[in-house]
Amino acid sequence: MENLGYLLAAFAVIWAAVFGYVLFMQRKQHRLEREIDLLRESLDKSREK
């Protein structure tokens, strides 16, 4: 099993990058959802006025 370390490193990099990107998208989604909530709140306030 010569060079197994290299093989495992390559697979680890691929999966780490994919999961990292998914995590990045998830955080972005949460940020956008927060922004929508803020917009909704400010819209409600301006309606009340």
């Binding site: 197994l4 390559a10 917009l39």
Partner: protein
Amino acid sequence: MNRKKLRDRLLLALTFALMMAALATVFLYAPTEKHTGVIQRIFYFHVPVAWVAFLAYFITFIGSILYLSKRKARWDALAAASAEVGVLFTTLVLITGPIWARPVWGIWWTWDARLTTSLVLWLIYIAYLLVRRFAGEPGRGARLAAVVGIAGFIDVPLVFITVNLWRTQHPTTIIFEGGLTGSMLVTLLVCLVAFTLLYILLVRQATGLKMLETEIKNIKRMREE
């Protein structure tokens, strides 16, 4: 559950199942190559990752043309999302390639035609993402990025044909020349399908987020005016 959510969940389940099948075929089904040994198995992920990068840039190319001709935000969102995923996968190509090269060639990197054009490809689409981010007014950024997305695509066929045009250290495209048969070919095909599904899944999500981001920016701008 609405139809879009159901489709997304089905796609996620299918991608997950195929990824598991790909891992099983790579490690349990594919034979160990005679000359390079176990390290050759990187090939089953390196090639699909490169294929996805090419596919991603092709979709960016189409999305950019459609955005410039129709000026619909969804085409810009698709082009941008695909370029983002393309950059991610090109980064993986540029990392997994040298990891394979070190034990096989004895070096991490060489400035041969395939490797150099791949690096240039990565830089072009990094530029695409930077143009979008720093062009100021969003419409201007989208237009400029679309031009980069169309012009930059020239490098994709160039990367592909370099190994046939010049003498390079990089292996040639043996897949289309019948150099890969039996269980090795089956393994590669399973990996290609799995990674293509992963690309579709990621681009669908990224496009949705970009559309949402654009809408929020537009609402904010309208409120300020």
